[in-house]
Symmetry: C2
Amino acid sequence: MTGDQERDVKRIEARAEAARTNLFGRMAAIYAASRKQAQDLLQVGGGISIVEWRTLWDLHEGGPMTIGDLALTQSTDHSQLSRALPQMRQKGLVSMRQAAQDGRQTIVSLTDRGREAYQCAMPIMGTRRACLGDVFTKAEMEELIGFLDRFEAFVRRPAKDILWKEEVE
Amino acid sequence: MTGDQERDVKRIEARAEAARTNLFGRMAAIYAASRKQAQDLLQVGGGISIVEWRTLWDLHEGGPMTIGDLALTQSTDHSQLSRALPQMRQKGLVSMRQAAQDGRQTIVSLTDRGREAYQCAMPIMGTRRACLGDVFTKAEMEELIGFLDRFEAFVRRPAKDILWKEEVE
DNA sequence: AATAAATACGTGACAAGTCATATATTTTCT
DNA sequence: AGAAAATATATGACTTGTCACGTATTTATT
């Protein structure tokens, strides 16, 4: 009974080591670290948020687009943009207008001030990508992206599929 | 002027395609999907949260440990555990007591009910890992983990390092 | 021994995601 | 044309993660 209540450092270390090879757990920690690094960098690059940076970048590269386009490009929920865009408009970074052809859509465009904000953050975020390019060769990066494609396909499977599949076997 | 205000579908599609090879952006979307899948599965496996599942699992494998041990094993902030553990104790899943050797520490242990909750969720989460094993060979998985080790080392670099490095070059 | 520094944990505030639901506008069907 | 279905966006509620700061306890220093 008492033995079960004891803290066993070796056993705990073994557990931590096992966790290192758990892809799901690793993704959580790695993404959290990646996000924090981006936030820190953007603090230097004009004090904008990650969502704002993505939006400036997408609008700069893709030109004016709807909120749905932005959500699709960023693989995120449109609600995140619904919340961020009014603030960005207030800061003068983007302009928004109802689409002429389809009144449900909102067309978002970069303003001059938005372009300035992009130019301010871009070198910093570009440096980051350049540094990442020193960590992986082109071939390795392609391989990693390929792995991630497969992993993403897996995690997008509905929970049902995963449970059913095992039942059948 | 008007041209700049037009939504250009081809250009937007090109932007979305470019985003596919952006590791940072991909990580965000993939982890979000992974988390959602885990939440859905845990809904079936006893209705526990991800933090609760991790904690049950770690305690089951690693035995009684401190809150700090749990945070380290899960590579997460201790605050997350500080919030989750009182609820878990209230549900009767874990017991907590002040460490004898060090009064600052709290030793967390699995209760019988906690073991039951683990046994309930484990088959489902185990099935998930088994299914992932069908997606990657052992060698591929090792390679992927190796890539992630390197990526993690990169995203854990302080923002300063990344900016300074480029200045020097 | 007394003080200073480090450590463990609790808690408030926030960012970035998710979903569900509501509303306005289009599109489709009869 | 009118009704029904689909779509685009807004919004509230929630989870998972971060940091900063406060307090209690332990360890180190003088």
